[in-house]
C-alpha cells in the first residue's frame, strides 16, 4: 500500500514537472524581455521554473518516504465519476445548440435516473419541473440570458 502511494505521489510530481517545463517553454516563445523591461512570458517563465524545482522536491520526498502523500479517500466510484464528467462535457457541447431547457432536462434525467438510481418516472418528473423552474427563475425573473438553441427555448 505504501509503495503504491509513493508511486502515485511520484507520478503526480512528474506531471507537475511537465507542466512547469511546458510553462517555461511557452514563456520563452512569448518572450521573456529583460529584467529592466520584463516581457509577456516573464512571469510564466519564473513561475514555471519554481514549479519545476518544487516538483523535484516533491519527487524526492516521494522517493525518500511514503508518508501520507496521497490521501485516503475511501471507495470512489471512478466509472460513475467518468460517466458524470462525460455527461457534463456533452451538456457544455449541446447547451448552445439545443437550448437550456432541453439539455438541462436530459442532463438531470440522466443524473437522477441513471447515476442516483431514482425511479425513472420520478426522475423525469423532477428533471422537467426543475428545468422549467430554472428557466423561469434565471431567464424570466433574474433576467440572466440562458441559451435558446434551435428550438427557441
Amino acid at each position: 500500500m505504501k509503495k503504491t502511494k509513493s508511486i502515485a505521489a511520484g507520478a503526480s510530481a512528474l506531471f507537475w514537472l511537465a507542466v512547469g517545463i511546458l510553462a517555461c517553454y511557452g514563456a520563452t516563445r512569448l518572450g521573456l524581455g529583460s529584467v529592466t523591461e520584463p516581457g509577456a512570458g516573464f512571469i510564466f517563465f519564473w513561475s514555471g521554473l519554481i514549479l519545476v524545482l518544487l516538483s523535484l522536491v516533491v519527487l524526492a520526498e516521494s522517493i525518500r518516504s511514503s508518508e501520507d502523500t496521497v490521501q485516503e479517500m475511501g471507495e470512489m466510484n471512478w466509472a460513475k465519476i467518468a460517466l458524470v464528467l462525460l455527461s457534463l462535457l456533452l451538456y457544455a457541447y449541446f447547451l448552445e445548440r439545443l437550448g437550456f431547457v432541453l439539455t438541462t432536462f436530459v442532463l438531470l434525467s440522466f443524473l437522477l435516473g441513471w447515476i442516483e438510481r431514482i425511479n425513472w418516472a420520478r426522475s423525469l418528473a423532477v428533471a422537467s419541473a426543475a428545468a422549467l423552474a430554472c428557466f423561469a427563475i434565471f431567464e424570466l425573473w433574474l433576467k440572466i440570458r440562458l441559451p435558446k438553441g434551435i428550438f427557441g427555448f
Binding site: A8, A9, S12, W16, V19, A23, G26, L30, G31, V35, T36, E37, P38, G39, A40, G41, F42, I43, F44, S47, G48, L51, L54, S55, V58, E61, D68, T69, V70, Q71, M73, G74, E75, M76, K80, I81, V84, L85, L88, L89, A92, L95, E96, T104, L107, L108, L111, L112, I115, E116, R117, I118, C134, F138, L142, K143, I144, R145, L146, P147
Partner: protein, 500 residues
C-alpha cells in the same frame, strides 16, 4: 474615532434601505443554508450567485455576498452539533464538544451558545474592522508596486505554510495558480498568452468557473454514491437559551476566541479554519479540566464558534483596505468587486465610502438577523438536511453549470468548470489543496503587474524589494515562513482535520 462613528451612521442609513435590507436577509439565509448543507460551501455559493447580482447595484450585491460568508459560519455549527458533520470546514472543531453536548441532551444550549458567541464575536470584529480598515488603508497609500508584490508573496507563503499536508505541494498549487491567473492578453503588450487560439480565453480564465469546478462539482463527484441520508438528530430541541452557568463558563472563551480569530483573520493567507483550531487548543490549555474537552464542554463550543465568526470580519480588512484577499472566499469577493467596476485597494474606502460603510453596517444588521432567525429556524434547517443527497447532488451540479455559463454567456466557461472539477478531484486524491491555487489565481495578475512595475521602477534591480522597509519586512516574514518548516517539524496545519 468620531469620524468613524459618523461614517458608520451613514453606513447604517445605506444598509437599512429596504432593498439592501432584503439582500442582506437573502445573503445570510443563503449563507446559513449552505452552511448547513455539507457538500457546498460559501465560496462556491458566492460564485454561483455572482451572475444573479449583475443587475443589482454593487452595494446590494456585496452586502448579499458578504452575508453568505458570515451566515455560513452560523449554519456550519448547526450540523456540527446535531449530526457530528461539519457543514463547513470552519466548523470542524465544533463537532468535538458540540455533538457530545447534543448526545447528553444539551443540544439546545450548544446551539444557543454558538449563536450568541458568533454574534458577540461578529460584533467585536465589526468594531475592529471600523477601527482598523480605514487606518490601514491610509497607511497603504504609501504602498508602491514593490510593497504590494511583497505583501502578496507573503500571503501566498502563509497559505502554503498553513497547508495540512505538504508545504511544497501547496506552494506548487500557488505557483500554478499564478500561471493560470495570468492566462490571457498581456496587460502591457496585449499579446495573447497561453490562450491556444481560444477567443474566450483572451480575457483570462474566469474565477467563477474555476471555483465552481474545484469547490462545487468536485465535491459532488467525490461523494457520488458515498454520502447517503444523514442521520439527523430527532430529539426535541429545548432550552436554546444558555443558562447562567453556561454563560459564566463561556464568556471568557468567547472573548478570547473573538480576539484571536479577528487578529489571525487579519493576516493574509490565514482565513477562518486555522484560528478555530488554535482557539480550541488555547481553551484546552487554559482550562482547569483539559481532560474533559471532547466530552461536551461548553467552552469547547463557545470559543471556536466565536473565533471563526470573528475571523471572517478579520479577513475583510485586507480585502477592503488593501485589495488583497486572504482566502478563497474573499478571493472571489475581490473578483466580484472588480466585475462591478470597483477598484479594490486603499482608495476604495475613500472613493466608495457608501460601499465600505454600507457593507460594514449591513454586517452588523446581518448578525442581528442571524441571531433572531437562526435559533427559531433550527428545526427548519434540520428538515433541510432530510433532503436526500441524491437529489441535492444533481442540483448542485446544475447550479454550478448555470453559474459558470451565465457569467459570460459562454459554453467555454462550462467546459472550464468541468475540467476544473476533474482537476479538483485529482488534487484531492493526490493531496494537493485547492485553496492556495484559488488565492494565487486571483492574485496572479495583480502580482505580475506589481512585479513588472517594480522592476521597471528599479531599473531591473531585485534589491528594490529589500531596500524599501515595508516590502523588506514582508519579504523577510515570507522567508522566515518558508524556512521555518526546515528547522521544525511542528507546523500549524499539521494535525488539522482532512476537511477543507
Amino acid at each position: 474615532m468620531l469620524e468613524s462613528l459618523t461614517s458608520l451612521a451613514y453606513g447604517f442609513n445605506i444598509a437599512l434601505e429596504p432593498q439592501n435590507l432584503l439582500y442582506c436577509f437573502i445573503g445570510v439565509t443563503m449563507g446559513t443554508l449552505v452552511g448547513v448543507l455539507p457538500g457546498i460551501g460559501p465560496t462556491a455559493t458566492i460564485a454561483l450567485l455572482l451572475p444573479a447580482t449583475f443587475k443589482l447595484n454593487p452595494i446590494s450585491a456585496i452586502i448579499m455576498l458578504s452575508g453568505i460568508c458570515y451566515g455560513a459560519m452560523y449554519g456550519g455549527s448547526t450540523t456540527s452539533i446535531l449530526l457530528n458533520i461539519p457543514g463547513e470546514a470552519s466548523s470542524v472543531v465544533t463537532c468535538f464538544d458540540g455533538y457530545q453536548m447534543a448526545r447528553q441532551g444539551r443540544a439546545g444550549a450548544a446551539l444557543g451558545i454558538s449563536a450568541f458567541g458568533s454574534f458577540i464575536a461578529g460584533t467585536v470584529s465589526i468594531f475592529g474592522l471600523i477601527l482598523l480598515a480605514p487606518t490601514l488603508a491610509e497607511f497603504a497609500l504609501k504602498f508602491g508596486p514593490p510593497e504590494y508584490f511583497a505583501l502578496m508573496v507573503m500571503g501566498l507563503t502563509v497559505v502554503a505554510y498553513l497547508a495540512r499536508k505538504s508545504m511544497a505541494k501547496a506552494l506548487m498549487m500557488a505557483v500554478f495558480g499564478i500561471i493560470l491567473g495570468c492566462v490571457g492578453l498581456d496587460p502591457i503588450t496585449a499579446k495573447p498568452r497561453f490562450t491556444f487560439g481560444i477567443l474566450e480565453l483572451a480575457d483570462g480564465i474566469g474565477i467563477a468557473p474555476v471555483v465552481m469546478g474545484l469547490f462545487g462539482i468536485a465535491e459532488v463527484l467525490e461523494n457520488l454514491g458515498v454520502l447517503t441520508k444523514a442521520d439527523v438528530f430527532t430529539g426535541k430541541l429545548k432550552g436554546l437559551f444558555p443558562n447562567r452557568e453556561d454563560w459564566r463558563r463561556s464568556i471568557g472563551p468567547i472573548a478570547r476566541g473573538s480576539l484571536l480569530g479577528f487578529f489571525l483573520g487579519l493576516l493574509p493567507g490565514v482565513g477562518a479554519i486555522v484560528p478555530q483550531f488554535l482557539s480550541y487548543a488555547l481553551e484546552k490549555k487554559l482550562s482547569r479540566h483539559p481532560e474533559r474537552f471532547g466530552s461536551g464542554e461548553i467552552e469547547g463550543v463557545a470559543a471556536p464558534e466565536a473565533c471563526n465568526n470573528a475571523a471572517v470580519g478579520g479577513t475583510f480588512i485586507p480585502l477592503l483596505s488593501l485589495g488583497i484577499p486572504s482566502n478563497a472566499m474573499t478571493a472571489i469577493l475581490l473578483g466580484a468587486l472588480m466585475i462591478y467596476g470597483l477598484t479594490p485597494g486603499p482608495l476604495l474606502i475613500k472613493n466608495s465610502p457608501d460601499l465600505f460603510w454600507g457593507v460594514i453596517a449591513s454586517m452588523y444588521i446581518g448578525n442581528i438577523l442571524l441571531l433572531i432567525l437562526n435559533l427559531p429556524l433550527i428545526p427548519l434547517w434540520v428538515k433541510v438536511l432530510e433532503i436526500p443527497y441524491s437529489y441535492l447532488s444533481s442540483f448542485i451540479i446544475l447550479f454550478c453549470l448555470i453559474g459558470a455559463y451565465s457569467l459570460n454567456n459562454s459554453s467555454t466557461d462550462v467546459y472550464i468548470a468541468v475540467i476544473f472539477s476533474l482537476a479538483g478531484l485529482l488534487m484531492k486524491k493526490f493531496a494537493f489543496e485547492p485553496a492556495p491555487l484559488v488565492l494565487a489565481f486571483v492574485l496572479g495578475p495583480l502580482l505580475e503587474t506589481a512585479l513588472r512595475r517594480s522592476l521597471i521602477l528599479s531599473d531591473g534591480s531585485l534589491l528594490i524589494f529589500l531596500q524599501r522597509p515595508i516590502s523588506a519586512g514582508f519579504i523577510l516574514f515570507a522567508a522566515v515562513v518558508l524556512v521555518a518548516p526546515l528547522f521544525s517539524q511542528i507546523r500549524l496545519g499539521r494535525g488539522l482535520s482532512e476537511e477543507d
